[in-house]
């Protein structure tokens, strides 16, 4: 076969990109297992195995080469993101269904790697929280359950767990504010809350931040999306908080709670479903942050990032089209 220039290639691959992202998730996972519950490791294993099996079967059915596509590790990354979004003690079958939806419906029915318009992990999260709202809202208190109990809950032991589980910080805050005349300040006195946001979750955010910095330094992602996401989230939270600190949580609380850090570095930055131009990335991530705040604060669900991501996924084609950067020589800069 004749090949044409260039005859040299950078030693890089999709597999390497995905592997870098997986490695960047490790600090976060370590903090998660230490601060919140080692059950996450079981969930990660269940999700990964399901994802690989589903990917293999679908590729076989589609008549595509199986091994190279599994080797690119994209299915494992999707699985990990799903597991990290789900409650630590979510029963195994919920994780499994979610992964199957992500891999089969969201990824492969749209044409496989690189072709899906929606973020697979986020579609999985949204479908599960709509289908099983209560199971998806039961979180163990951070570090409050021993590994055996977590394992029992995940693998389908006793589900009478209201006594031992609770809502996330965001959920508790929202329910608390809706239930009566309490203020943010008094709710934050509860045991679910730590110094900044949910107890233990602040550390998790730090873990993800470390991974995110790794991704930035390895140039897997650019600064645009994380910065736009976090700045927009902080800005809008500050505005509401300044107007009424009794009814709205502080920007720090919003940054440290829920999946803000995970989303900033690992979810909005999904290249396949996100905007691609520099300006487009800023608009996309800012849009996600804005919608996420509104859903968190005024919506019916405890965490709004997943819905916000999907809504912004819809806007990607027009964002990209309208934010094309000026081409060399067409910038209208220095002219003769």
């Amino acid at each position: 076969m004749t090949t044409f220039s260039p005859y040299i290639r950078k030693p890089t691959s999709v597999r390497q990109v995905m592997l870098t992202v997986l490695i960047a998730l490790v600090p976060g996972i370590a903090v998660y297992a230490w601060q919140i519950g080692a059950g996450i490791l079981v969930n990660l294993a269940i999700a990964s195995l399901t994802a690989i099996a589903a990917e293999a079967v679908v590729l076989k059915l589609r008549g595509r080469p199986v091994l190279p596509a599994i080797g690119d590790l994209s299915a494992v990354l999707t699985a990990w993101l799903i597991a990290l979004c789900f409650p630590t003690i979510a029963p195994w079958w919920i994780t499994m269904i979610a992964v199957l939806i992500a891999i089969i419906v969201v990824k492969h029915l749209y044409g496989g790697l690189g072709q899906n318009p929606f973020n697979p992990a986020m579609v999985a999260y949204c479908s599960m929280i709509v289908a099983f709202p209560s199971l998806m809202s039961q979180w163990p208190p951070a570090g409050g359950l021993d590994f055996q109990t977590q394992l029992d809950l995940i693998l389908g032991g006793a589900r009478n767990i209201d006594a031992i589980t609770g809502a996330t910080a965001l959920d508790a805050l929202r329910t608390g504010l809706r239930s009566g005349e309490t203020t943010v300040g008094s709710i934050l006195q509860q045991s679910a809350f730590g110094a900044l946001g949910g107890r233990g979750w602040e550390w998790l955010g730090l873990g993800y931040l470390v991974g995110g910095i790794l991704l930035l330094s390895r140039r897997v992602i650019t600064w645009h999306m994380p910065v736009a996401f976090l700045v927009t989230l902080a800005t809008i939270a500050t505005l509401f908080w300044l107007v009424n600190p009794a009814k709205f949580a502080s920007p720090l609380f919003h940054l440290a709670s829920g999946g803000a850090m995970l989303a900033a570095f690992f979810i909005v930055t999904d290249p396949v479903t996100g905007a691609t131009t520099p300006r487009g990335k800023l608009i996309f991530a800012a849009g996600v942050a804005l919608l996420a705040y509104l859903i968190r604060t005024f919506g019916a669900f405890p965490e709004g990032i997943a819905f916000a991501v999907l809504l912004m996924n819809l806007c990607v084609p027009i964002i990209d089209m309208k934010s094309q950067p000026a081409v060399f020589g067409h910038k209208g800069g220095r002219q003769p």
Binding site: T2, T3, F4, S5, P6, Y7, I8, R9, K10, T12, S13, V14, Q16, V17, P68, D72, S74, G112, L113, G114, Q115, R219, V220, T222, P271, V272, G274, T276, T277, D320, Q324, P325, A326, V327, F328, G329, H330, K331, G333, R334, Q335, P336
Partner: protein, 566 residues
């Protein structure tokens, strides 16, 4: 003065592989047993051959005269005999043939009489003609005639000398600058005066400290405002537009030339060629070429134009596992389809390639829109978008996304984690668009032709009708004037007139037919005539009247009902 440098977007840093060949001085390549000098030295012009097979030529003797607006002269690279003028494959990815003068050297390498000129003392037009007739073209690769780039000598403020040499492996400009800095700068000064520029800026990538030092030393004693500027090593800093951006901050839009912005750019090799042509009166008959890659003895060689690449290769000693040769650098060069192609003025490098040095690219995977390509693109394009459009044959959209601003530098393909040969898609899309434009052009020409044909037929019909009407009227008048015409009735009714006309026409036709004798029976010898008569007689006897029937009439209407040509 250049006080700060600018940045172009993107760029890549491949392994430079310069040291392999840069550490050895330029060596002369021996005269090959046969030289093949193409009359075509660039894509736009072909020289007019002025020698004939068998003619003796001297080194530097003109064998091709410049013709056309972008033509330059072509010279015999050494003394010898013209063997033939024939078509040979040229150094182009297509391997297509071009007209070449084949010269068998006599080994004496005897120069023709050389005429140096003093540019300060010579009319500008004469100097430009001298450059044209010395065959001076851009030695960086494009081989564009230098005298054309010099324009009318106004409007240029900065002359940029391109010594960036950003492609990996290539070191011919590096060596030239190290060894012949004074000659290069002298050529640059001549160009600077001819173009009317105020200053000379030499851009050299900072991975060539020896070249920078040599050029600085050579610039020291000169009175002209010459600045040697190290530019960051970042491919493709040596692209003309990229270098101009880095040095001056000016971005030259697609389809425009540097001269419109007050800058003009020449390669350092061109400066050297200008120096030789003006000061020594020597036309371009040789150039420095890098032989490197999978070879045991890499280096730079001064070789005669027209030297077949295959006779150059033994100088560097390709290793056994070499399986193809690249002409130019690995980023923008191409694999030689044929090793017999000659060295031309734009050939800067031949790389012996093996699968170990240049591994075949891994299989192509789907695009994941990671935007690595967009971050690497020096033209600020979104290559992955162009890829989607090219792949789906959505060429209109590809053009809307500035496909033609792509300079095919290869950065996007280099960085793609999915190993997509993006540039191949863009070359495909560009050639498809060109083909379609040609089709549209051809179709519109065909339509014009067809419409003109219809118009012509209509016109001829009208003219014929008018002619016939006039003739009929004339005949009618004639008949009316002759009262004792044979068929004229007292009333002279129109029907009778018509009958008379028909009768007259029939009579004319009969006479015409009688006048035209069948050609093959004309001028027969008496014997043949006698034979024919005899046959005729026999035929009469045997009563075969059917053979006597009239010859078949002419084909009727066959040409009228043709399908229109598209």
């Amino acid at each position: 003065m250049i006080s700060r440098l600018f940045k172009f977007h993107g760029g890549i840093k491949p392994d430079s592989h310069k040291s392999e060949s840069a550490d050895f001085p330029i060596r002369p390549a021996p005269i090959p047993p046969q030289l093949v000098v193409p009359l075509r030295q660039n894509a736009r012009a072909i020289a007019h051959c002025i020698v004939e097979p068998g003619e003796r030529v001297l080194k530097g003797q003109r064998i091709g005269k410049a013709q056309g607006a972008l033509g330059t002269a072509v010279h015999a690279p050494t003394s010898g005999t013209v063997v033939e003028i024939t078509n040979r494959p040229m150094a182009h990815p297509s391997g297509l043939d071009t007209r070449c003068v084949v010269i068998e050297p006599d080994g004496e390498d005897r120069w023709i009489e050389r005429h140096p000129i003093d540019p300060l003392d010579t009319d500008r037009a004469v100097t430009l003609a001298h450059l044209r007739d010395a065959g001076v073209v851009g030695m960086g690769g494009a081989a564009f005639p230098s005298h054309i780039k010099l324009g009318d000598g106004t409007g240029i403020e900065t002359l940029i000398l391109n010594g960036a040499e950003c492609e990996p492996w290539i070191t011919c400009d590096d060596r030239l600058m190290r060894e012949r800095a004074a000659a290069i700068l002298d050529g640059a000064v001549i160009l600077c005066d001819l173009i009317g520029a105020r200053r000379i800026v030499v851009g050299i990538e900072d991975n060539k400290p020896e070249a920078i030092a040599a050029m600085r030393a050579a610039a020291e004693p000169l009175e002209h405002a010459i600045q040697i500027v190290p530019v960051p090593t970042l491919y493709p800093a040596g692209g003309e537009k990229q270098l101009i951006k880095v040095l001056t901050g000016i971005e030259i839009a697609h389809g425009r030339l540097g001269s419109a912005y007050g800058v003009q750019c020449f390669n350092v090799g061109t400066g050297h060629a200008v120096h030789r042509a003006i000061r020594a009166g020597e036309p371009v008959v040789s150039r420095v070429v890098t032989l490197t890659g999978n070879v045991s003895n890499p280096g730079n060689f001064e070789a005669l134009i027209g030297t077949p690449i295959e006779t150059l290769l033994p100088l560097a000693g390709p290793k056994a596992d070499t399986n193809r040769y690249l002409l130019g650098g690995p980023m923008m060069g191409f694999a030689l389809p044929d090793l017999s192609v000659p060295l031309v003025k734009g050939t800067n490098c031949v790389i012996a390639a093996s699968d170990a040095l240049f591994p075949p690219p891994p299989p192509e995977l789907p695009c994941i829109r990671c935007t690595s390509c967009a971050r690497a693109c020096p033209a600020d394009l979104q290559p992955f978008e162009l890829y989607w459009f090219s792949r789906s044959h959505n060429f209109g959209k590809a053009q809307e996304y500035h496909l033609f601003d792509c300079i095919e530098c290869g950065c996007c393909t280099f960085v793609c984690p999915s190993h997509i040969p993006l540039v191949d898609y863009f070359r495909f899309a560009k050639s498809e668009i060109w083909a379609r434009e040609r089709d549209i052009q051809a179709a519109s020409e065909a339509r014009n032709r067809f419409e003109f044909r219809n118009f012509r037929q209509e016109r001829e019909k009208a003219e014929k009708a008018a002619r016939l009407a006039a003739k009929a009227a004339e005949t009618k008048a004639k008949i009316a004037k002759e009262p004792d015409a044979p068929s004229a009735d007292p009333e002279n009714s129109p029907a009778d007139a018509k009958k008379a006309l028909i009768a007259a026409a029939l009579e004319r036709a009969k006479q015409q037919k009688a006048a035209i004798e069948p050609k093959n029976t004309a001028n027969l010898s008496p014997e043949t005539q006698a034979e024919i008569d005899e046959i005729e007689a026999r035929r009469q006897e045997q009563r075969l009247p059917e053979l006597e029937s009239t010859p078949p009439g002419p084909d009727e209407g066959a040409s009228e009902k043709q399908e229109p040509v598209r």
